[in-house]
């Protein structure tokens, strides 16, 4: 038995994990490229395993999100091209992702990009702020939008339609 435990984190391992996180901050979500996979809150764990593999645990947004496979492949490719191979990307379901996992930075990016970020209250649509003019006088047009994670709203003040990240 090893005195210091099975695989104590070494300076080399933590530097590799830190580099991996920096790389992940540049991997865009394929459907909302303004967000990185870190902003989206789907990267649950980055660690170096005992056999020297970089293990990245990713949680799907929606059960049927068609981007899931692409996201996994993009993450593996980005880390490999940064010289961080071998890499293993694994799915984790628990704790389940919800829109509450989107980071504060991610919310700001969504807003700047013209997509109303999700509020902290799941299912709450009233009082959505128009990302164009800032008015709260907005209405829901459709519960579903152009991707599984967005709904359609309209601003009564500036008359512009806009997308909003669904709150689930």
């Amino acid at each position: 038995m090893k005195a210091a435990g099975a695989s104590p984190p070494t300076a080399g391992a933590s530097a590799r994990v830190a580099r991996a996180r920096a790389v992940l901050a540049t991997v865009p979500d394929p459907e909302i490229p303004v967000l990185s996979v870190l902003d989206l809150g789907i990267v649950r764990e980055v660690e170096e395993t005992a056999d020297g593999t970089l293990r990245v645990a990713v949680s799907p947004t929606y059960c049927g999100c068609p981007a899931t496979t692409v996201i996994r492949a993009d993450i593996a490719a980005a880390l490999a091209s940064a010289g961080l191979a071998p890499v293993r990307v694994v799915d984790v379901l628990s704790p389940p992702w919800s829109s509450a996992w989107i980071t504060a930075d991610g919310r700001r990016k969504l807003h700047r990009h013209g997509i109303a970020p999700p509020t902290s209250v799941p299912g709450e649509a009233a009082g959505t702020e128009c990302p164009r003019c800032g008015s709260l006088d907005t209405e829901l047009i459709s519960e579903f939008g152009s991707t599984p994670c967005k709904a359609l709203h309209r601003c009564r003040a500036c008359r512009e339609p806009f997308e909003r990240f669904k709150c689930i």
Binding site: Y62, S94, P96, W97, S98, F144, S146, I168
Partner: protein
């Protein structure tokens, strides 16, 4: 890993197949819904259901332990091996019919997933915890339409009331416990069927009241898709669903 109980495969297939078959039905609306918002609504709901079915079928395939995959179970099982509730396979009818059927099943799935998050089967609990938020969203969408149509014009009201009467007899199957359900209850995998029925009834009754629709009387009619005895409609649905894999076995993207 602990020994999997014998009933578990059947229990999982009932939940998975109901989602898969309903997803296929909703998919038939793509390009045909009355407005693009509803086209997106049905398509997105179908996508969630398909994703849930895939997680459940992957687990079912592992429990079965015969080397089959989730895809094998979806594309290569015969009609009589499907375990979905009959309600899910009934034809779409008009937009109101589809909304009513969807609402009845959404409300059932929400009651089910809310309780399965506490299942003693941790894998199932994890899948339920993932599915429950999506399902809550589905209920909001379909119940919104039940209210708009029920409390809409005289014609929309009468037509969705008729849809409700038509589908109601098939609801019974969802809440009738058999040996599989009792075994799942006994080891804490599943909640009592009566609890699901109560939770479902509270939600459905509240929406029907808001929609000015009347809850139909209970019916002696019974049908058991969950035992593999299906209506004449499932075979046609599976012919569409399975066509590609049956014609070009093993084809991949």
């Amino acid at each position: 890993m602990s020994e999997r109980p014998a009933y578990l495969l059947e229990y999982l297939l009932r939940i998975a197949d109901t989602s898969l078959v309903l997803a296929q039905r909703l998919g038939e609306w793509i390009g045909h819904a009355p407005a693009i918002e509803e086209d997106l609504g049905f398509a997105n709901t179908a996508l969630d259901l398909l994703g849930q079915a895939r997680l459940l079928l992957a687990y079912a395939a592992e429990v079965e332990g015969r080397g089959r995959s989730a895809d094998d179970l979806a594309f290569l099982r015969e009609e009589s091996a499907y375990r979905n509730a009959t309600l899910a396979e009934l034809p779409n009818g008009d937009f109101g019919d589809t909304i009513v059927r969807q609402f009845l099943i959404d409300a059932y799935q929400l009651a089910l997933y809310e309780r399965l998050t506490d299942s003693s089967d941790l894998r199932l609990a994890e899948i339920a915890a993932k599915a429950v938020n999506e399902t809550r969203y589905h209920v909001r969408y379909s119940s919104g339409w039940v209210v708009r149509l029920g409390d809409g014009t005289d014609e929309s009201h009468d037509r969705v009331q008729a849809s409700l009467e038509r589908f109601w007899p098939y609801v019974q199957e969802l809440f009738e416990a058999d040996d599989i359900d009792r075994a799942a209850l006994a080891d804490g995998t599943a909640p009592p069927a009566q609890d699901l029925c109560d939770a479902w009834s509270r939600r459905v009754d509240a929406v029907l009241a808001e929609a000015t629709l009347l809850r139909p009387a209970a019916s002696p009619f019974r049908w058991y898709g969950k035992h593999g005895r299906h209506s004449e409609h499932l075979g046609h649905l599976l012919a569409n669903l399975q066509y590609l894999q049956r014609t070009h076995p093993g084809a991949t993207w």
